[in-house]
């Protein structure tokens, strides 16, 4: 009994001591108190040096948390219980969060740097007048390919992927709208098509692609393509930039039939406690110099017009990532299709995934 008492007293003592030490550490690091800002962003989607700079400039301590899908992020925010001051959802998630009342309107008078954003990326269908969101990065969905592994063959369109020579060569990103969208695009239908006949047709066409598909994967697609495990991958342009930075033998193309134009945007979710700080942070990220630094670090395309002046020409003149909008006919933004239609897309995608070779 005595031994047990001593043992448990020691355990509780040690735990209390550790708790105290971690509290003290938290305090010296500034993680405690009102002057913090929780940023909820995708993994590796900001230059850490910019966070340091922001902390120095404003005296606000940033707590950086990450998510890996829009759905996970929305669930955590809708659930409440945790503070997030700034979040970075994709455009289709914004219309949904808006509907669910998860967003706090932005005060434009506190965001003077909004004027640097290219007007082409403002006032879009998912958030008219940018009441709730400010664009952070944008990009396309396209094809990364390895000309060396394809014997110098060039890929220019979605339909090139159906070439029987490409057996077991294609990696697809694990996204229902991306993959079904690819089927729709290859048939010259809209990415937001809700005609079930068209969707079935697209799915049947995708089934014929199956012999060429090696795998449907998540984030590891970047590593697999850079390591030349497959010759072709359907990816987001930002991932493509990273892959090419790692292995410059690869090339990226936005298919000529058209593709998806996507945005990640900064918003203030309803869980925010430091709304003042959140505006400061968003305005800080819109500053052209900061935006340029961030774009160089992350490798995605910045919507900040002025920031382009601060970036190397070889990046900003790269037509693969900063395309002429006139030369590519058909870039569409995803619309929120509603729960029903989205479930149908997911259902078709699931059927496609289960389709046997």
């Amino acid at each position: 009994m005595k031994k047990l008492t001593i043992f448990f007293a020691a355990v509780f003592g040690a735990a209390l001591l550790l708790y105290y030490v971690s509290l003290a550490l938290n305090r010296t690091e500034g993680y405690v108190g009102k002057n913090t800002l929780t940023v909820y962003n995708w993994g590796d989607y900001i230059d850490p040096a910019l966070i340091k700079k922001f902390e120095k400039q404003t005296g606000i301590k940033v707590i950086y948390q990450t998510f890996d899908s829009n759905e996970a992020m929305m669930a955590k925010i809708a659930q409440g219980g945790a503070t997030f001051d700034v979040a970075v959802p994709s455009e289709y998630a914004i219309s949904k969060m808006k509907e669910d009342g998860l967003l706090i309107p932005l005060d434009h008078s506190k965001l003077p740097n909004l004027k640097y954003i290219n007007p082409r990326f403002l006032n879009l269908s998912f958030d008219p007048g940018n009441r709730y969101s400010v664009p952070y990065f944008w990009g396309t969905v396209g094809i990364v390919y390895n000309p060396g592994m394809l014997g110098g063959k060039k890929i220019t369109s979605w339909n090139d992927l159906w070439d029987p020579d490409l057996r077991n060569q294609i990696l697809l990103v694990d996204g229902a709208r991306e993959v079904i969208g690819m089927g729709l695009n290859s048939l010259h239908y809209s990415l937001n098509d809700t005609n079930k006949e068209h969707l079935k047709e697209a799915k049947e066409k995708l089934d014929r692609l199956v012999p060429n598909v090696k795998a449907i994967v998540g984030d590891e697609i970047k590593m697999l393509l850079a390591n030349e495990e497959a010759a072709i991958g359907v990816v987001w342009s930002g991932d493509a930039a990273e892959i090419i930075a790692e292995n410059d033998k690869l090339d990226y193309v936005v298919p000529k039939e058209g593709s998806n134009l996507w945005f990640d945007n900064m918003v203030i979710p309803k869980t925010a406690k430091n709304i003042e700080g959140a505006h400061k942070f968003i305005n800080f990220m819109l500053d052209p110099k900061n935006a340029a630094q961030n774009a160089e670090y992350v490798g995605y395309s910045t919507p900040n017009k002025k920031a382009l002046d601060y970036m190397p020409k070889e990046i900003t003149e790269d037509k693969r990532f900063y395309p002429d909008f006139d030369s590519i006919g058909n870039l569409e933004v995803y619309k929120n299709l509603g729960k029903r239609m989205l479930a149908y897309y997911n259902e078709l995608f699931l059927q496609f995934k289960m389709h046997r070779k």
């Binding site: 509780f12 708790y19 550490l25 993994g43 707590i63 955590k76 659930q79 409440g80 984030d219 590593m223």
Partner: protein
């Protein structure tokens, strides 16, 4: 017969190699200066330096250990009380029902426990953070402790208690001088079991962390998602060392208590 014996050893060696290979591979590349997991370029300690200079990480390490110690201590106390209660239940049927309810919690998937805790905490308005993680860790550790302590109680001869009663011991004396000393090894086993469960729990913790509070397994997961940085390998190597140290510590404590337990009985 003899060659049979040899093959058994070979089989054992192969199994252990397979089990430990991934960990060794991970630790091996934590010394790679190349920055990737496929080409070993040279030996460096940079990743360990990066880990050591990361204050946020150290706060999380401290959090993890604090949670593990507190939750396993509290759940051991609760679990011993529970085991005693089940032991003293007279009706066989009731005992089986209680045991079954206990076991259901052990076999039910962590994801479900985690999700239901998340819903519960947000419903009753507990902010996600230290308290929520501590409470949920206690909750999933208690059944484990009960299961570790109960066999010890059942193997204890009931004549011991009768003898103590005969010699004039009251209820409290019987508990503290006879029962608890007898089941002490079981209590320690339960404590360390709960400790390891708490240290490496991911699924439940993943649901109930928030507001900047995080534990090591959740933090490693979210860092691994951000791409391939070898500081994760270095961190995992350190964590592996910590686990080994715990196992060795447990070994020595259980050795010592076994010896002193025998000594006590002889006197």
């Amino acid at each position: 017969m003899r060659s049979n014996h040899k093959w058994g050893k070979v089989y054992l060696a192969v199994v252990f190699v397979i089990l430990y290979m991934p960990i060794v591979y991970l630790i091996y590349y934590s010394f790679n200066s190349g920055g990737t997991m496929h080409d070993f370029e040279g030996v460096t300690l940079d990743w360990y330096k990066e880990v050591l200079h990361d204050t946020r990480l150290w706060i999380i390490v401290l959090n993890t250990i604090t949670i593990a110690l507190l939750s396993s201590a509290i759940s051991t106390i609760l679990g011993v009380m529970g085991a005693l209660a089940i032991y003293y239940v007279k009706s066989w049927r009731m005992k089986q029902i209680l045991l079954m309810l206990n076991n259901v919690l052990i076999v039910s998937p962590d994801v479900i426990i985690g999700a239901s805790f998340l819903i519960l905490f947000t419903m009753i308005g507990i902010q996600l953070g230290f308290t929520s993680v501590l409470l949920s860790h206690i909750a999933f550790s208690v059944p484990i402790v009960v299961l570790m302590v109960l066999p010890k109680l059942q193997e204890m001869s009931s004549t011991l208690i009768d003898a103590a009663r005969d010699l004039g011991a009251n209820q409290w004396d019987v508990l503290t001088k006879v029962v608890l000393p007898y089941i002490t090894p079981g209590i320690f086993a339960g404590f360390f079991m709960a400790l390891t469960y708490s240290l490496d729990d991911f699924a439940v913790t993943f649901f109930v962390t928030g507001n900047g509070f995080s534990t090591l397994s959740v933090e490693i997961y979210s860092r691994a998602r951000q791409g391939i940085s070898l500081s994760i390998n270095a961190l995992s190597a350190l964590l592996f060392l910590l686990t080994i140290a715990l196992v060795i510590g447990y070994y020595f404590i259980s050795q010592k208590s076994a010896v002193s337990g025998m000594g006590g009985r002889r006197r």
